[in-house]
């Protein structure tokens, strides 16, 4: 864990991880008995559902809860559905959890709906069959005629600390990234594709056939909103910085590489590259089928969990702590961190002392010392109207430095979530 430096006068700095020169190949991990897929769709009307317990599914098959929903997953194994349940995820998100008992390795059946179409790549078949790829590509943004996409940004950088997943694709797989970029260009018709990489990978990235831009190695410079603001400042964004409105679509290097591989071979790649950080701080890349429960990774890497330990899906600043080792790898799980009980820093229930550390590190220039007072009092509307709640880019830096150890970031997320669901409810009633 990075501590405050002895000389606290200088602004705290957090550096992104730099991938090792001698990075070994990712370790292959396999699912042992079952996989679990969380689909971003509530499981409410069971009669209406396309899924039934006992159904046979094939490797690469699209798993959707209702017909033609935007949200679906791709099964990374063939097998039989053994359980379907509704699941409440982070911030009350309603999901459907599908458990699949997998066939043994020798008898894997391949789904061939993609085989039929891969020779004619198009936006439609990508949206229809490839949204579940590792790296979670978002094709929906191209289907909003009112918000046309003008540029595509490929992120060869990782969004959080310690993680090297996307860097690995630039360093060791630039050719497949290039294939993916060419394909994206073809199916979207967009020529302006920008590849964002850390400085040390600028040279490798040059061969990808895209405009290369580098970002600073200091957290959170690689955050999409800051990239828009600082690196793509020349793009005319019409004053609004929110990524989805800005005419820019973001893809991770992993997703681009998977898109390329899918259209090249007709075979959908469903192994996710994850940066795994063990209790003793050892980092290694693992390649694991999407849906594999954490337990399988732990047992194959000989890592054990005890009461009080913390398991984080994602990076140390923005990840999500899970409560069970059954939690599966998702298409966007770039890192998994295991923290020993002794590394868990307690948060406190103390008031803000107005030290201003948070204000000095906030990349969004938010007056957090004021904001937090409204958030703690539950006055979310004032917080949004007067204290810039919605300018927050969710980097977590404020909580990291808070001297009172207030969970500032948690307050912010909760406030945003509450306001958003209130607005949604109002729209529904109107």
């Amino acid at each position: 864990m990075i501590k405050r430096s002895f000389f606290g006068l200088v602004k705290p700095k957090l550096q992104y991880e730099i991938i090792d020169d001698a990075q070994p190949e990712p370790v292959n991990i396999n699912a042992s008995e079952k996989i679990m897929l969380y689909i971003d769709q509530p499981y409410e009307n069971k009669a209406n559902s396309l899924l039934k317990i006992g159904d046979q599914v094939k490797n690469g098959q699209k798993i959707e809860v209702v017909k033609d929903a935007d949200a679906y997953m791709l099964s990374s194994k063939s097998g039989q559905i053994s359980n379907i349940s509704s699941f409440v995820g982070f911030m009350e998100k309603k999901l459907t959890a599908v458990t699949i008992d997998i066939d043994d390795q020798a008898n894997q059946l391949l789904d061939d709906s993609f085989k039929d179409v891969y020779k004619t790549p198009s936006m439609e078949n990508a949206k229809d069959l490839l949204s579940g790829l590792p790296g979670k590509p978002d094709f929906d943004v191209f289907f909003h005629p009112d918000k046309p996409i003008k540029s595509i940004v490929v992120l060869g950088v990782d969004g959080d600390l310690l993680t090297t997943t996307n860097q690995w694709f630039i360093k060791n797989g630039i050719i497949s990234v290039k294939t993916g970029i060419d394909l994206l260009r073809k199916i979207t018709g967009i020529h302006d594709i920008i590849l964002i990489v850390p400085q040390h990978l600028a040279q490798v990235a040059g061969s990808a056939g895209a405009t290369v831009k580098t970002v600073d190695s200091e957290y959170p410079a690689a955050h999409p909103q800051l990239i828009i603001r600082h690196i793509l400042a020349d793009k005319n964004l019409g004053g609004n910085d929110i990524a989805s409105n800005s005419g820019i679509a973001f893809f991770s290097a992993e997703a681009v590489s998977a898109i390329g591989a899918a259209y090249k071979t007709g075979q959908i790649p469903l192994d996710k590259i994850v940066t795994f950080i063990s209790k003793d701080g050892n980092k290694q890349l693992v390649s694991v089928p999407i849906g594999t429960p954490l337990q399988d990774i732990l047992s194959q890497l000989n890592e054990s969990l005890n009461d009080g330990d913390r398991v984080i899906f994602g990076g140390p600043m923005t990840g999500v702590a899970v409560y069970s080792p059954d939690f599966p790898v998702m298409p966007d799980t770039d890192a998994i961190i295991i923290q020993d009980k002794s590394q868990v820093v307690e948060r406190a229930d103390v008031a803000c002392i107005n030290c201003g550390e948070c204000v000095r590190v906030c990349p969004a220039n938010i007056q957090i010392n004021q904001l937090i007072r409204f958030l703690e009092a539950g006055q979310y509307e004032e917080a949004a109207d007067q204290y810039d709640l919605f300018s927050c880019i969710e980097c977590g830096f404020c909580s990291f430095v808070c001297e009172s150890r207030i969970p500032v970031f948690q307050h912010i997320k909760l406030a945003k979530h509450t306001l958003e669901s209130m607005n949604a409810a109002e729209e529904n009633n109107a």
Binding site: I2, G308, P316, Q339, V350, C352, G356, N365, F400
Partner: protein, 319 residues
């Protein structure tokens, strides 16, 4: 297979830089010793008595308030002890025990807890308490009378009184070096300039106080004093004298920098400090009070919320 493993679940981020209120209080207390120890050496056991009494009573007041308001015990963060220490630093060694205890009552209970506890006090608690005490029992803090029974190997007159009554000439005998080394009478922990400076620099380097406030406060003193001095060198002492007498040094490093009552943005910090320094000199030179630091600090505490409105725009808001 029932799953009985209990993992820790909490919200991101999962790292913390390890800073805490208690380590901040500890370090400021440590730094203040650099000025308090020479003070105690100079004034003997009486000074030690005042300091310990002040710290102890501040802690007890806070405990009482915790108890009465049924809030979790908060003395562990060291803030009450710190208030007690800073309050004692301003007192003469002869302060009677009841005045010390009343003072910490004002500081901890009135100036801090009633406003909502740590971080919610609009004024620096120790300064507010000291001001109330001075207004109520002014004679206790007439340093000349208070310290009459001591014999020193230097001029035992409160320097600011001299300059106020007799003009700049009267203070010529004070060599700046002596003032810096604490050879002057005054509060227990406010006369040893060198100790305060070293302590302050330590705190700045460690990032526990903000250099912007200290430096601009001192700059305010220097520039304002220089203006007066140039206008009328007969009447007004130069910046060096003002820097090293009264509560200037403790004000710059320990009083104006209190977190809750000072701004957090860069430009506001500069204005806040500068205003404090300049007001100090104005009060000293034109006002009726002998020292202006405490009033100046209360005034800048008052304008702090206004100053902090000068701030960079949040992203995504306008152009």
């Amino acid at each position: 297979m029932p799953n009985t493993l209990k993992l820790t679940v909490s919200h991101a981020p999962f790292w913390h830089n390890g800073s805490s209120i208690s380590s901040k209080s500890r370090n400021i207390l440590l730094a203040s010793l650099l000025a308090v120890v020479p003070g105690c050496y100079q004034y003997g056991m009486a000074a030690v008595g005042v300091v310990t009494m002040s710290i102890a009573s501040a802690i007890i007041w806070e405990l009482l308030i915790n108890f009465i308001s049924r809030r979790p015990i908060s003395v562990g963060d060291g803030n009450a002890a710190l208030i007690g220490m800073i309050f004692a630093m301003m007192l003469p060694a002869t302060t009677p025990w009841w005045a010390v205890v009343t003072g910490t009552f004002f500081a901890v209970v009135i100036a801090k807890e009633i406003f909502g506890g740590i971080g919610a006090n609009p004024f620096n608690p120790a300064v507010l308490a000291m001001t109330i005490l001075m207004l109520s029992w002014g004679n206790l803090f007439d340093f000349n009378a208070a310290l009459l029974n001591y014999s020193f190997n230097f001029k035992a007159v409160y320097p600011l009184v001299l300059s106020k009554s007799f003009g700049a000439h009267a203070v010529e005998p004070f060599a700046l070096m002596d003032l810096l080394l604490g050879k002057q009478i005054g509060g227990i922990g406010s006369t040893c300039g060198i100790g305060l400076i070293l302590g302050g620099v330590y705190l700045i380097l460690r990032g526990f106080i903000r250099w912007e406030v200290c430096f601009s406060f001192l700059a305010g003193i220097i520039i304002a004093a220089l203006c007066f001095n140039i206008l009328n060198p007969e009447l007004y002492a130069g910046p060096g004298f003002h820097l090293l007498t009264g509560y200037t040094m403790i004000g710059a490093f320990f009083l104006a920098t209190e977190d809750s009552s000072s701004p957090v943005n860069f430009i506001p910090m500069l204005i806040y400090g500068f205003l404090g320094g300049a007001l100090t000199i104005l009060i000293r030179n034109i006002g009726t009070h002998i020292d202006g630091v405490l009033y100046a600090i209360l005034i800048i505490n008052l304008v702090n919320p206004l100053l902090d409105k000068i701030r960079p725009k949040a992203i995504g808001k306008g152009v």
